[in-house]
């Protein structure tokens, strides 16, 4: 087939024979090595979504307030008064597994660039981490490195890290997950798209110089982790948050002063992706001269320059009249600046190096003709029934409660979030630990009123593993429930789909079902998917990771008086729980900690319509002024939720007893979702009425009280003992 490139070279580039044939067809000849490298990264899963694109197309992407949907650097939703919110989530899993500090730091840098490239000032970062058992010293090294990497970048750039989650399950041990989300605010008139348009316009490069680091990062991200890939450390990039901060400021100034007509950061696949995608989106061509690209390594080849993933680099299109002013901005912010080419109307990507044309590719062929696969899908065997819930004595239930509260999946993540600056920019109303979701006050500029946004991200992968469709619905709805508990309604969704190899039919089936579930939930919530990221091939010697479709939501709070916290507020208030009582114990934290992970079994008992009614009832209770606190029941079940309400408020509660056939299920069951509310005694009837009008169950649990948390026959849990358990830091972390 290819006289020019050996089978080994093609395999190294992850280019399949049929793909090579398509490259030849598109070029009308065989590609040279530089062109092969360009195709290989553009057609990697990371850039082309070749295994997931068809499924992603099923997601709802329309909304009245949606300004920019999937396909750009980030999604944009209108906030009114000429302002909009820009957000996206992305993964940096494989780099973080190899070099946790730099992998996580550059993940943060990359998602920040996606936001400010659109013309938005980043105002918040979130991250979702999935690790193995922290008892393993190797895992502790990864945890510490990832957290330090996130902290080092976000803190330095001056963007607060306000929310997220972390879970520790053995199934993620061989392939950790590092997902980061960024939220920014822009003037709508400043929103800038990644397009190269206007033949004769110039291509401006600024930021760090290009080195040999990170060559083939995008291909690396689209492979399974093996001993060999773990050795490929050259594919991991090194971050420079100081340069990140400087290009952030320079970019926003360039956009605000309208000195650029298109912008794209150089992230995955670096110069290749930025030039090719901008040309293709702009329906134009682009010519670049690699001799003009600032370089920090000697004698780099065209292949290396085009495929380098050196961090903190930006590409912009400027009109010739504005070039000088744009270069002056880059110079003032001390981030280089060089004109490396121009937009052309030839529809091709022309790359020159040392006087030679070293690549000549039709721009649209790289994007429009990227391979598209419809992989085989096969449903795995249906899971066996749930484990029988054990009949535990009161003493055993008490012991279980403390063990659950101390489990790293339930316990406070203070030991992680204290390392992140969550207050810089002085907009953070609810910080990590303050509420079920973060709340940010966005200052009104130029007479516009303040806007209150709520952001949260997460996914309980255990339920997705049991039933990907309903598990993914639940993942979306649980984040939405977090928003409801602080008084917010969602505006839009971003996601990061972390799965194993799509070439495994069972993994692909799971991916397809999960995407379907996300779509179902978005339609129920009437919100669009504004964009996201797909991270496949998350596999190690231990097999594929549990399917983890991470969900990020941005919501709005109509009135700051509605901002609600989980903590109980006053002794004598009534404690209510809204929603249906759990009926099983499968895939709960109780199952993992107390039963020894009997595991991912049974059906996911979850109904979208009922969940939506629950969230509306909670919002009704908040907006009517009745709810004084609200908290989602999640990992650890009702007992953990009550303990958290007590700890957050510094008050105890008298709970009569918790109804249910089995005490363990009633106390520690997690599904379907519920919400613990407190309200003044005189509001109880009103809350019951408004819950009933939504068809939502509302159970009176007891009263807020000074002193301990007292639960029926289980007796007293002092706040000190609850706090000690809940503040447990994994040994050595």
């Amino acid at each position: 087939m290819s006289p020019r490139h050996s089978a080994e070279i093609l395999k190294h580039h992850g280019v399949r024979p049929a793909e090579y044939a398509e490259i030849e067809r598109g070029l009308g000849r065989e590609p040279n090595l530089t062109e092969l490298g360009i195709y290989s990264v553009m057609w990697s899963e990371h850039c082309s979504y070749k295994h997931s694109r068809r499924q992603l197309k099923t997601l709802p992407t329309k909304g009245e307030r949606l300004l920019v949907g999937p396909g750009e650097n980030a999604g944009v939703v209108d906030l009114g008064h000429g302002r909009c919110v820009v957000f996206k989530m992305e993964s940096h899993n494989h780099p973080s597994a190899v070099e946790p500090f730099q992998g996580a730091a550059t993940g943060v840098g990359g998602i920040l660039r996606d936001i400010f490239t659109m013309g938005a000032r980043p105002i918040a970062m979130l991250n979702n981490l999935r690790f193995g058992d922290p008892a393993d010293p190797h895992m502790r090294r990864l945890i510490d490195g990832v957290v330090e990497g996130i902290a080092s970048y976000g803190n330095c750039v001056g963007v607060p890290t306000v929310a997220g989650d972390a879970m520790f399950d053995a199934e993620h041990g061989g392939n950790i997950l590092v997902n980061a989300m960024c939220v920014g605010i822009a003037r709508t008139e400043d929103i800038l798209l990644a397009r190269a348009s206007g033949a004769g316009n110039l291509v401006l490069y600024f930021g760090s110089a290009t080195g040999r680091d990170g060559i083939h990062g995008a291909t690396f991200a689209s492979e399974e982790l093996t001993e060999e890939t773990l050795e490929r450390r050259g594919a991991v990039q090194v971050g420079d948050p100081f340069m990140g901060k400087k290009i952030l400021e320079a970019t926003l100034e360039l956009i605000r002063r309208k000195l650029v007509v298109g912008m794209q950061d150089m992230g995955a696949a670096g110069l290749t992706c930025s030039t090719c995608e901008m040309a293709a989106r702009g329906g134009s061509g682009i010519t670049v001269d690699l001799d003009k690209v600032p370089q920090r390594a000697e004698a780099m080849t065209a292949y290396e320059i085009m495929l380098s993933e050196s961090q903190e680099r930006m590409l912009a299109v400027v009109t010739p009249e504005n070039a000088e002013a744009a270069l002056e901005v880059c110079c003032r912010w001390d981030c280089g600046g060089a004109i490396i080419g121009e937009v052309a109307d030839h529809g091709r990507v022309h790359v020159h190096h040392k006087g030679q044309l070293v690549a000549d590719i039709p721009a649209l062929h790289l994007t429009e003709n990227a391979p598209l696969y419809d992989p085989a899908a096969e449903a795995p065997a249906p899971p066996p029934a749930d484990p029988e819930p054990p009949a535990l004595s009161d003493a055993e239930l008490r012991d279980a409660a403390y063990r659950l509260l101390a489990s790293p999946n339930v316990a406070s993540k203070r030991w992680i979030y204290e390392r992140y600056d969550h207050q810089v920019q002085t907009q953070t109303v609810l910080r990590p630990g303050d509420g079920d979701a973060a709340v940010l006050r966005v200052r009104g500029e130029g007479g516009a009123p303040d806007v209150f946004l709520s952001v949260m991200s997460g996914c309980n992968h255990r339920h997705v593993a049991r039933d990907p469709r309903r598990g993914a619905q639940l993942a979306v709805m649980e984040v939405a429930r977090n928003l409801a508990c602080v008084g917010a309604e969602p505006l839009g969704l971003t996601n990061c789909l972390n799965f194993g190899s799509p070439e495994n039919p069972r993994v692909f089936w799971t991916l397809r079902e999960a995407i379907g579930g996300i779509g179902d939930a978005c339609r129920a919530l009437r919100i669009p998917v504004t964009g996201g990221n797909v991270s496949l091939y998350n596999e190690s010697a231990g097999g594929a990771i549990p399917p983890t479709p991470m969900i990020g939501l941005v919501g709005e709070i109509a009135d700051p008086a509605h901002i609600t916290r989980p903590g109980f507020r006053a002794a004598g208030d009534a404690v209510l729980v809204l929603g249906e009582a759990p009926r099983h114990i499968g895939a709960t934290e109780f199952d993992r900690v107390v039963l020894g992970a009997k595991g991912f079994r049974g059906t996911v008992e979850f109904d979208l319509a009922r969940e939506l009614a629950l969230q509306h009832a909670v919002l009704d209770a908040i907006r009517s002024g009745h709810a004084r606190s609200a908290h989602d029941v999640s990992e650890g079940g009702l007992l953990a939720a009550l303990a958290e309400c007590c700890l957050a408020g510094g008050l105890g509660a008298e709970i009569g007893g918790i109804a249910g056939d089995n005490a363990a299920v009633a106390l520690f069951g997690e599904l379907p979702g519920r919400v613990v509310l407190s309200c003044a005694m005189e509001s109880v009837a009103a809350v019951e009425t408004l819950a009933a009008s939504r068809g939502v169950a509302c159970e009176r649990l007891g009263l807020v009280a000074e002193g301990p948390l007292r639960i029926g026959s289980l007796g007293d849990f002092t706040l000190e003992s609850l706090r000690a358990a809940h503040e447990t830091v994994p040994d050595g972390c």
């Binding site: 803190n155 420079d240 100081f242 901060k245 810089v424 002085t426 006050r441």
Partner: protein, 230 residues
């Protein structure tokens, strides 16, 4: 009241200081780029937090050499009020305008949390209106105040310690010390009392919506001190 807020590449609390000065206090506040001259007739110079020059080399070391710092030094020598917060404190120490250094926190980690402080003296332009105890956010990795024994002794003797970290009972114990600072020192002033620095962020505690307004005490103190001068 005219305030100059310095901006170095990598400063990231400059806007927050501006919001506190212009928004909460109603002052006229202007940014001063690190390579520019300090404007005339300022009442107060603020050196903001952040990661000036990426904290490369050593926190504050490169910013201390910026052209604007020569003007700041002259301004201070003329009796002008200068306040550094977090990285600004580090810069003032590196510039020699304040004694001592800020070392890496005990434990080696960045910490972002509310810190309980005790105001140690009202006899300064920065603390005369501060409450006895206040809660201000900290957010730093290098906030562990250190000075040689002689310097430390002079600071204590001259009443130059403005704030100390304290525990829930209000005592400067190791349990109340978030970073290992000697004598639980959170903020100091120079011998002339017109230059001060602190690691906690008063500008992050300037409105109840964001969790507290204890930080306004510092700004009100400056206003009172300058009012008294006129």
């Amino acid at each position: 009241m005219r305030v100059g807020i310095l901006v170095f590449p990598g400063s990231n609390c400059d806007q927050d200081l501006h919001h506190a000065c212009a928004g909460a206090m109603g002052w006229e506040a202007a940014f001063v780029w690190h390579s520019q001259a300090l404007p005339k007739s300022l009442d107060l110079v603020l050196v903001p937090g952040g990661f000036s020059h990426g904290d490369y080399l050593r926190c504050g070391a490169l910013a201390a050499l910026a052209p604007v710092m020569a003007d700041v030094r002259r301004f201070a020598e003329g009796g002008g009020l200068v306040l550094g917060v977090c990285n600004g404190f580090q810069i003032l120490c590196e510039a020699g305008l304040l004694p001592g250094v800020l070392r890496v926190n005990r434990g080696g980690r960045f910490r972002c949390m509310p810190a309980r402080l005790r105001t140690e003296t009202l006899a300064s332009p920065f603390t005369n209106r501060c409450t006895r105890f206040l809660t201000l956010p900290i957010a730093h990795k290098e906030g562990n105040y250190f000075a040689d024994p002689g310097t430390l002794e002079r600071l204590e003797e001259n009443d130059q310690v403005l704030f100390r970290y304290v525990d829930a009972e209000g005592s400067p114990t190791p349990a109340g010390n978030p970073n290992g600072a000697l004598n639980n020192i959170a903020g100091i002033c120079n011998a002339e009392r017109n230059v001060a620095g602190l690691m906690p962020h008063p500008e992050r505690a300037a409105e109840p919506l964001l969790g507290g307004a204890d930080g306004l005490g510092l700004f009100r103190s400056v206003a009172a001190a300058l009012g008294a001068l006129r």
